[in-house]
Every structure is written in structure tokens, then in C-alpha cells.
Symmetry: C2
Amino acid sequence: MEGEKVVVVGAGPVGSLAALYAAARGATVNIYELRNDLRNEETTPLNFTKSINLALSERGINALRSACNTDLLDKILDRTIPMHGRMIHFRTATGALSQQSQAYDVHGRFQRSVDRGELNKVLLDHLGSLPNVNFFFQHKMTGADFRKKKAWFEVMDKNSTSPSGRAKEIEVSFDLCIGADGAHSATRHHMMKYARMDYQQEYIDCLWCEFKMPPSKAGDFAISPNHLHIWPAGSFMFIALPNLDKSFVCTLFGPVELFFKLENGSDPDLVSMFDKYFPGVTTYIPPADLVAQFTRNPHLPLINIKCSPHHFGDSVVIVGDAANAMVPFYGQGMNAGLESVRVLFSKLDSTPNRAEALTSYTAERAEDAHVIADLALANYTEMRSSVTSPLYKWRKWIEERLDKYVPSWGWATQYSRVSFSNMRYSDVIKKSKSQKRILTVLFLAAAAAGVAMPVAGVWWWLVLGTRFRQHQKAFNLTRT
Amino acid sequence: MEGEKVVVVGAGPVGSLAALYAAARGATVNIYELRNDLRNEETTPLNFTKSINLALSERGINALRSACNTDLLDKILDRTIPMHGRMIHFRTATGALSQQSQAYDVHGRFQRSVDRGELNKVLLDHLGSLPNVNFFFQHKMTGADFRKKKAWFEVMDKNSTSPSGRAKEIEVSFDLCIGADGAHSATRHHMMKYARMDYQQEYIDCLWCEFKMPPSKAGDFAISPNHLHIWPAGSFMFIALPNLDKSFVCTLFGPVELFFKLENGSDPDLVSMFDKYFPGVTTYIPPADLVAQFTRNPHLPLINIKCSPHHFGDSVVIVGDAANAMVPFYGQGMNAGLESVRVLFSKLDSTPNRAEALTSYTAERAEDAHVIADLALANYTEMRSSVTSPLYKWRKWIEERLDKYVPSWGWATQYSRVSFSNMRYSDVIKKSKSQKRILTVLFLAAAAAGVAMPVAGVWWWLVLGTRFRQHQKAFNLTRT
């Protein structure tokens, strides 16, 4: 990659990391981003591209680790807050507020709550210090010829319109284009004109709205800072992730019908819905503020995207949400995105032929991407309802005991393999299936034993007991 | 729709028909088409947008019938060639060439082979004679705001570039925009920014290449003009549809691997492959010509597209391939496209509220569109292999007898309901499933009878026969 020209489309966390990897390999890296440089924004509006908190875990950290020096990685991790488990909030049978902590991992490994914007800024600052990296903000991709390795960008800055009154368009050539421009990727859109891409997008029946929970009056976190808080309500839920400023970023997730009802209902209806299903929340977010936030903040959809291939020829490849947007319920969106960059460069490093490297990247990554997208969808059910089910807790308990006390068996929960290992997502699924089969066999064996033991007892009493009594009788006879 | 401004994107057969429907309702109709006016093309290159032959059947004709006067419809039908059935070409066990005709319908209903370009020209000519219809050829849709009911088009004509050297862009406003711009629809692309659209595109493992089979030396059709000819070869096939000029438009369909092998093999390899699997073809298309056509003509993919919704708000709706591109194996692509226009306007006519009419259109049409897309995929297997299976022929024979001799039962084959009726595709599937269940019961009853009869026979022989013999014996005894 030494001396080559790499174009990265999108300057979010995934695009920034891709630029870091390419720059470390000696390429000249030009980053084109539709939006402004978020470091220059004076205010940070409640906009999901800047303010949302995400879970950063092993895969993301591992991908960062390969590209960042220790100082940079420490700088990033210092801005995260450890979350050791879920805190499930509920009301007891008597109506009292209660909460239950469910640790993420028996070995003490944890998720980290991170502000997407903060992480992004650290990476951009570092990129800005590199001599072979250039930024082009407010540049919108308008076209690409991936055979000729050219792309076109419209300069969005209002000062740069041409005399004809239309925005200036520039032509850019490259050796490799990396599309990290999110779920509505322009790179993917133009790549689809070249690659015969199987593509699927699906809006799930769920909207989300963000809320901010302020620090307590004493200036501390209103609720435990080291948990991801969940108020499960069956078909919907409310969650909260801690911020460094001791506030929480909270999200209401629910079906379109619920949002429609709330949007068209009265303010007291909204507050009483919260009091009924999310006990305690209105203590931390005052009712008037809750209503104001629900009214002001956007109600946004969730999209699930799968596609294949993730590349065309030797000229373009898509990473992160552009290739694999998923719902947020496994906390893996950004982690999978950062990991895709690591996997991409491992292929580029090990395979000299660029087209072969990209083919091999698609072969591995498309499979894993489809798996994590499905897991993330399935986890929505887990978070909003299964977490309270005894069967769910029982299985989690058994698996955690096996993990902790028989480490030689290599047992682990699916959650810990996804969140705290770098095992391929597709292998995680295979392992989980095999563990499930073993657990079923053990369970059946236990059930069989449960039936066999009383039978053995009765048999013993009938057969051995009779013989014993005969012996005893004989003995008694001989004694008499 | 009287006095409203309707923009139709795409001037193919489906777009032209939509324009006819809108014009008949008093709208001012502006048709924007990316390509040139095909009526002005001096040469008709072998380009699938102009030269392909398609099957026109009841749904297509019915949709045309509602918008065209008798003269116009006759003009269209006069340019079609009836195909009464499939002609299956094969080699017998002794290696002799053979063919077998399979009629499409016991009531004599038939498919019609039509040149897409010819049909298109007739419709465009008629539209051109209407005062409230305007054409804008070489106009490429570059953007749309479906809330403000505006769209932008770039004028592609080389003479109309602005002084800045870039193509002129015009802004168009409308009351309703109808996107009939094909599988790679720009209307759909821009609509997806507004509607939360579930969307799926899939390239099937099949490429196609077109061939022309010239008339015989005597100037007649080389093979029967009233059939759709099929050379089934298991995983691939060759087909031929008749043209008015006594030639045939033929297509090779096969997996990507086969094309790769043929593209990289020698010319004699190609010819011997044809001789082995498509017996007789090289008699009608001389080997040198066959090789030349395979080399010259593009090898194109097949895409399957499903999406929902097909509209946004009250401002835009997509029809035909833009909403529902399917593989060509049921001969329903254009028929379904034309039918979608008829269904759309039936909703617009019956529901005064535009947004409700479009919602009702999506609800009905998305379901039917998904069904016919799946049926078309399944028919690929039928055409290239099942047509030669005895079980297939047996079921077809039984169902046709039931249709012909017990018309009161309302029995019909799935094929005839799809091709020769206007029943909703989703209802066709329901009917077929119910018929399949009945056939299975009948078959099991027949099988049970087949078992019961010999048993009854043996019983009769054993019991009645014994009694009879006893009687006879007694009789004999009394005689003696």
C-alpha cells in the first residue's frame, strides 16, 4: 500500500480507523466526509450522529489496538465508563421499586460506555497529526467509476458554488476506495452499479427516541454508573448508558404503534405510561422534561442491512454500517464495524493480489456480518422480555458455572464470546449450537436420572429389602 | 385526476400505459425518459431494451384493453404471433432428433410472442397524438423531493450543456409521480429516502445471451412459429420465440459457471456443447454465426426485486419492474407490469383520497408481486428440467382433464390461471394449494383402492369362492 492513494468515504469512527490503518501502511489517505468536521461544531445538538453512547467491547478495542499506540488507546479507554452488567429495573408483586444486577461475565470482563462523538474526535485529532492524511469535509459523493478508479464529490460549502449557481464538483482518482459512509452509503449505492450485489434492507417494527437523564441534585450519577440499565416491558423497553459528565443517555425502543399512540396521546398519558412500565424513571427525569424531550427529539427507525459482495474488483470495498447495518440490541454495531477494518487489512496484508484479498475479505466478512445482524435482532427479544424469564436466568447460570469452574472445557456463553472475544461471529454461533446440544443431553440425562433414582429405590426396597428380610428371618431362625 | 399534473418516469411499455391511463382521466401527463425516442432510432441494435421478444397474455391484454380503443388493441395484437404451447426438443434413446408439443391450455388459449420495441412504438405513437401528453426524452432523474412534489432531471442531450460545461438540470413539479423506470429505477432510489422501504434484490445464478435464428432458405420460419421452443438441459436451457419477420429470438440461460467455461473455451467447444444439449439448433443457426453471436452479444445477469411499500404519501408510486422485477421464466414480467397499472388506476378511481388509494394499492400489489416473483423463479426449474419428467406430465394431464371434462368444478392448472386469467396472483397460489391437497387425497384414495381391490378379490375368491364351490359341490352331490 506504500505510495498508493487511498480514498476513505466517511469520517466516522469506522472510516477514521480505516484511514489510520491505511496511513500506517504508507498510503496517502484522503478522507471525504459529507458533514462538517464535528470538532468545529460549537454546540453539540442532540443528533444521533454525535451524542449517542455506544458499547465498546473487545472486538472494537482489539481493532483499535492494532492501529493505535498505547497512549492513543489509553486516551480512548480513559473516556469510557465500565459497565459490569445489566441492571434490570422492575416493580415487585407489592408494587415496590426493585432492581437486579446481572453481571455480563463470570471473569469480570465488562462493556464500556463511550460517547461516539468523543471517540471520533480522538481518532480525528490523531489523523490530523499524520503527514499523509488529508480531510475533505462537506464533500458529498455524487458518482463513481469503479473500473476507472475515479469518484466525484460535490463540495457542499455554500461559499464554493460556481458562477452558474451550482455546487462545485471535483473528480478524485484512487488506487483503493474504502466506503465507511454508513447505512445509507453512497459508496455502496455506486458500487451496486458495478458489482452484482445481493442486497437486503429491512425496517423492523421499532422506533427509538433519545432522552437525557441529568445527574442527581448532589451532582452524582442518578443511578449506578457501572451498569447498562434496562426497564424491560415485553414488547418495548427503556435503557440508559452512563456518560462521563454523570448524566445518562437513555433510549425508548418500541413498536411503531406504541409511538403513534404516545405521539397522539396526552402528556399525562406519556408520564403514566412511563410510571407504569419504567418504574423510577420519572424520579430521575422530571415529567415535564420527559414530555419535552419526547416532543423535541426525533423518533427514528431502525434498519437492518445485509449485502454481498462487500467489494468490487480491486478498487472498492465497504466496511461498517455501509456493508452491515444492524439493530443496536447486541451493542455490536460499532464493534463489528471496527473489526471489519481489522479483518480487511489482515487480508490486504496477507494477500499480495488486491482483488484476491478483497474477494477473501467478502467471503469471510459477509458470512460473519449476516450472523451478527441476526443475533442483534434476536437480542431485542432478550432485552425487552427474556431477561426476566426464569428459564433464561437458569441457562445463563448453568453456562456461567461451567465457564467458571470447568475452564478446561472451554465453555462460555454466547454473549461473552460475542462481547469479550475475537472469535468469528459465525464460529460463535457454531459453538453455541454445540453447547446447546450438550446442555440438552445433560438435561435429559438429569431428567432420566431423576426418574431412574426413585425406580432404583423401589427396586432396592423390593428386591434387596426382601432378601435382607429373608436373610434376617433365616438368621433369626438360626438364632432361635 | 382532471387538470392534475402527472409525471411518468420511463417511456417503456409500462410507463406508456400508465401515461395512457392518466391522460384518459384528464391529467396533463409529462413523460421523462432517460433514453432516446426509440421511434427515431435508425438502427435497432441487438439491445435487450429494444429487440427482445416477450410473452403477452391475458393480464397484459386486459390492462391494455381498459386503456386502448379497439383499433389500437387490434393494432397491437396484429403484431403478435400466437404460441399455442411449448415445443420440447430432445434426442431419443437412439440419438434421433425429436420434438414434443405441450399445449398451454385445454381450452385453446395461447400466449402471444411480441417484440417489446414494436409494442412500445404503437403506444408511443398513440400517446403522441394526445393533446395532454408531452415527451421529454434524454432526461435523467437526478433527484426528487416527494414531500414538496418536485423532481429534478438532467438533460442528457449533448447540445444542451450549459456554459459551465455541465448538463442542464430542470426542476419539475407534479401532483403525482409514477415511476416506471425499470429494475434500476431512479424513482425508487429517491423514494427510498422518504418511504421506510423494505427492499430486497438478488442476482440468481444465471446469465443469459441472446441469439437470432434466421428464417429458412425458403424464407419461412425455420421451426414451428406457433410454439415457444425449449431445449431443456437440466441446469441450463435454450429457448426460441417467433418474430413477425419469420426469424426467432433465442436465449441461452445458464449458470455463471457454464458461461465462464464457454467464454474461456474454444469455438468448437461451444458448437459441440450446442450439438450435445440443444439438438438441431446448429442446423438453424450455422455454427460460425452461433459463435459470432455468443461473442458479440452481451452476457447479462438476472435480478429479482421485491419491495414494499410501492408508494410514498400521496405523491409517488412505482409500477412494473421498478417495483417488482422478476426473472423471465413465467413470461409474466411485462404482463405483471401492465397489470400493476390497471390495479393502480382501479384504486385511484375508487378511492377519492389519494394517499389511501396508494396505500390500498401497495397492500394488494406488494403481496401479488412477491408471489409472481417466486413463481417465476420456480418456473426456471420447470422449464429447464421438469418439462421432461413423467410425474410433471402426469399431473398436468390429470389437471387438464379435470379442467376440460368437469368445468363445473372450476379446476384449472396454475399455469392457465397465471397466464389466461386475471385472478390475483396470491389467489392463484391459494387455489393451486387447495387443488394439490385434493389431488393428493384422490391419489391416496386411488392407491388405497389399488390395495383394497386385490384384497377384495382374494377375499371374494376365498370366501365367496369357497361357498360357491361348496354350493357347487352340494349341487353336484344332489345331482349324483
